[in-house]
């Protein structure tokens, strides 16, 4: 096995202008915004793209057909909430095999066009949803809440202490989102408000949950040796890890809900490719899948940014704030952006890319000296995850 480190470069990224409930736009509309920005950013035209990997939307990615007229391969991939990362992974392999020289990854989610605001989207799919028993189990918040209750119990946090820790995580993400013009929610929310928000699935309240939002994101990739011909300030892929857990793990008494091995396994793959030994010290930023506050807490621990059961200490010390030692979800995260699953993964890479090349929209949210960043996504629910970890950085680092 050979590492993919530094072999593939991202030379352009884009998202639609602002994520949220985009009732006046259709799927193609928001895809166009993201694709145009990515193409412009890379300085290429749509006719230059030789292949694309897409996630979300209609079958066979036919929302691209109105954009792409050159009869190229377009492959739709589906890998739960890791779908965005999977499109980039497809692009990477297409480039590494030298089948293509310039490719595009696109993800889109337009959940609010679905009945009931897309409630439960991304949960049980296919024939599973007709299962007389498991097809009837709860909303995603309820599934993650099981992890929160267990986390409190295992690490001796009172209900109040646990809720407070989660509220600090959500409040931090809203602080970051308030500084990001593309976020759905651009408003600071106090710890107190988060802690006392109406219960969705106890112990998780409204502000522990990300919104159902709509958005699109795109990235243009080429092999690193060609990147300089497009732009001087590209970034490279250091490693991509994907892990799917043994599906029925939650039914095993050894599974305790407070640690997610899929995240650990995917991060290990990515760290090994990237040559990262001590992620907490070597990484400069991380975008973590915070569909729920507890998801961020356990993901941060599971990818090794702190020891298991200790995130409370770091949350209170401000380690993961915008000003902290290792900012987590500097973009505002899923908490501020909402979560259209196929798009979120590429949006995390958009953020990491912009931070590394120093082109965050506002100086107030521009991190200093970012050389290595982590993008983490997980789909499914505790005990049955599909997880991706992608490490991006400056070339040669």
């Amino acid at each position: 096995m050979e590492s993919i480190k530094d072999k593939v470069a991202i030379i352009g990224v884009g998202t639609n202008k602002r994520w949220g409930e985009l009732y006046d736009q259709d799927e193609t509309g928001i895809v166009l915004e993201a694709v145009h920005e990515a193409l412009d950013d890379a300085g290429v035209g749509i006719g230059d793209i030789q292949a694309a990997w897409v996630g979300g939307g209609a079958p066979t990615g036919n929302w691209l057909t109105s954009i792409i007229k050159q009869y190229i391969p377009v492959t739709k991939v589906e890998n739960a909430c890791a779908t965005g990362a999977e499109t980039v992974r497809g692009c990477t392999f297409g480039l590494l095999s030298k089948t293509y020289d310039l490719v595009m990854a696109v993800g889109v989610g337009k959940m609010k066009d679905a009945p009931r605001g897309g409630e439960g989207a991304g949960d049980e799919a296919g024939v599973d949803k007709y299962h007389p028993v498991t097809g009837a189990t709860g909303i995603p918040a309820g599934r993650y809440a099981l992890a929160a209750t267990r986390y409190f119990s295992r690490y001796g946090l009172s209900r109040q202490e646990g809720k407070h820790m989660l509220a600090m995580i959500s409040s931090k993400s809203h602080y970051n989102g308030a500084r990001n013009p593309r976020a759905m929610f651009q408003r600071e929310v106090s710890v107190e408000t988060c802690e006392n928000s109406p219960i969705i699935a106890w112990p998780l309240g409204l502000y522990d949950c990300c919104a159902q939002a709509e958005g699109a994101a795109a990235a243009i990739l080429c092999r690193t040796e060609d990147a300089k011909s497009f732009r001087p300030d590209y970034i490279t892929i250091k490693g991509i890890g994907i892990s799917v857990g043994p599906g029925m793990r939650k039914f095993h008494t050894g599974f305790d809900f407070t640690h997610w091995e899929e995240s650990t396994a995917a991060s290990k793959q990515a760290y090994e490719q990237a040559g990262i030994k001590n992620p907490r010290e070597e990484l400069d930023m991380a975008e973590c899948h915070d569909c729920f506050s507890i998801a961020e807490a356990i993901a941060v621990e599971s990818v090794g940014l702190c020891e298991r059961g200790t995130i409370r200490r770091d949350v209170e010390a401000g380690t993961f704030t915008l000003e902290g030692k290792l900012p987590v979800n500097a973009s505002g995260g899923l908490k501020s952006f909402g979560h259209p699953p196929p798009a979120s993964g590429i949006r995390e890479m958009f953020e990491t890319y912009k931070q590394i090349i120093g082109k965050a929209e506002y100086q107030s949210r521009q991190l200093k000296n970012v050389e290595l960043g982590l993008c983490h996504n997980q789909g499914g629910h505790p005990g049955r995850f599909e997880c991706s970890v992608t490490i991006l950085g400056i070339p040669g680092k």
Partner: protein, 472 residues
């Protein structure tokens, strides 16, 4: 000697005080409270509960016939007894039968059981009576009716209670009826249906039975009497010369309500829970005729003391906090359209996984001993493929490992309490906690299984098991 080998009963957890009903509609209150099935219960699920209580320590495979008696079968066409037989994992050639239409169905089923046993077609017959009658809001029946179930295992091998004599008479008197497409019972004015009906027919039948049994009312330590309400219960006892203090079995109007075809069976269970060897019992059941039985308690009754029966289930209860919640339980509220996600159900999956889903039988890996649930092809521990033995989990208790309380639930009553339960002896179950006070649930609490209707998606009753804090 033919008789009762075992008994069991079930009273649902929730009680609706009659003051709440009076408060909702104005007017006078009846006394006490009534037992009401939770939204996820029906006659079938309550019948399973009573059967489980009855069959403690008894091999389910020893049962030859199952009669399920109810006025409120969950389906108009589709036998409930066959579903219950599947739930209880009875042997495949068990004879199953639904009995309906008359509140005296259970004691009539005693006769069928006696005949089956006498003919040699069965050795052990399980009779379950259960009712969950929906009443019109603001009606007399709403005040009167309650929900519950009882079960008896009948046979002729050393019964705990012998059934010595039986008397049966039919009667086409119209007092209470329900048309096929109507939800609620109809009746005629009290003065006719009681004056000309019950209050005349009942004493005549008991007198005729006693004559046939060559007995007098004083011979009986306890007398179990069907009655349409508390007043007629007292009146009939007086007319028969039954001593209200020493002989008359309480009818539970004040704390359960009239439970239809389960009414006399539940009273009989309550009697047996207090009975001593040698006690003689007279039961009178009514509805389109009468069934009268004379029974004698034997020393075998002592082996059945661990049954929860009426006594323990009555003591374990939660109040329905407001009247409207009861209307929601009985699906009597017209919902805002689109308020809840609709569900559907794959019949092939339900059929294929029935042992797992309906009988709640898990798999134990022959290689590593790990208990697997739900259905697995490969062991979740050692990955060995297809090397499993059946391992019942429905009878295991467990502890809450973690839980959540979903306020955005698709179920009729929020929150939906999702729970991971680690089972005694290994294995884990992921499901819902029902019959609960959300404020008191915590990690580490002991829970047990209860059979419920988890949703009606796809136009059918989707039954499965939930958890509840241990009752009784």
């Amino acid at each position: 000697m033919f008789g009762i080998l075992s008994y069991g009963a079930y009273v649902p957890m929730f009680r609706l005080s009659r003051d709440q009903i009076a408060k909702a509609w104005g007017g006078g209150s009846g006394a006490g409270e009534k037992a009401v099935a939770n939204f996820d219960e029906d006659s079938l699920t309550m019948g399973v509960e009573a059967a489980v209580d009855c069959l403690q320590g008894i091999d389910h495979k020893s049962i030859d016939a199952l009669y399920f008696v109810s006025l409120t079968h969950p389906y108009q066409e589709k036998q409930a007894a066959s579903i219950i037989a599947e739930v209880l994992d009875l042997k495949p050639d068990t004879f199953t039968l639904d009995i309906d239409n008359s509140p005296r169905g259970a004691t009539s089923a005693f006769r069928l059981a006696a005949d089956a046993i006498a003919s040699g077609s069965a050795k052990k017959v399980l009779v379950i009576a259960s009712d969950c009658r929906v009443t019109a809001p603001h009606s007399g029946d709403e005040m009167l009716f309650g929900d519950g179930a009882a079960a008896f295992l009948l046979g002729d091998a050393r019964p705990a209670v012998t059934i010595d004599n039986a008397y049966h008479v039919f009667n086409s008197f119209m007092d209470t009826w329900r048309l096929p497409n109507e939800p609620f019972n109809r009746t005629w004015e009290d003065r006719f249906i009681f004056g000309e009906g019950y209050s005349k027919i009942a004493p005549q039948a008991v007198a005729a039975a006693l004559k046939q049994f060559k007995a007098t009312i004083k011979d009986f330590a306890k007398v179990v009497l069907y009655a349409p309400d508390q007043r007629r219960h007292t009146e009939l006892a007086r007319a028969l010369g039954v001593d209200a203090k020493t002989q008359l079995q309480e009818a539970f109007f004040n704390n359960i309500g009239h439970t239809g075809s389960a009414f006399v069976p539940m009273m009989l269970v309550a009697t047996l829970q207090e009975a001593k060897a040698g006690d003689k019992i007279l039961t009178f059941n009514y509805g389109d005729g009468c069934d009268v039985h004379a029974l004698t308690v034997t020393a075998g009754i002592e082996k059945l003391r661990n049954r929860r029966g009426i006594k323990k289930y009555l003591a374990s209860k939660l109040p329905v906090s407001y009247y409207q919640q009861y209307l929601i339980f009985r699906d009597l509220v017209i919902e805002e359209p689109g308020g809840r996600a609709t569900r559907t159900s794959s019949l092939p999956v339900l059929w294929r996984e029935r042992k797992n889903l309906v009988s709640l039988i898990g798999q134990k890996c022959r290689v590593c001993g790990t208990v697997n649930f739900p259905l697995q092809r490969l062991c979740i521990e050692c990955q060995t493929e297809g090397e499993f033995d059946d391992y019942p989990i429905w009878d295991k208790k467990g502890k809450i490992f973690t839980f959540s309380m979903d306020e955005r639930t698709v179920q009729p009553v929020a929150p939906s309490v999702a729970c991971i339960m680690d089972l005694e002896g290994g294995g884990r179950f992921y499901g819902n906690i029902t019959d609960r006070d959300p404020a008191t649930i915590d990690v580490g609490q002991e829970v047990e299984f209860t059979f419920r209707n988890i949703h009606d998606g796809g136009g059918l009753h989707n039954y499965f098991w939930k958890m509840r804090t241990v009752r009784g």
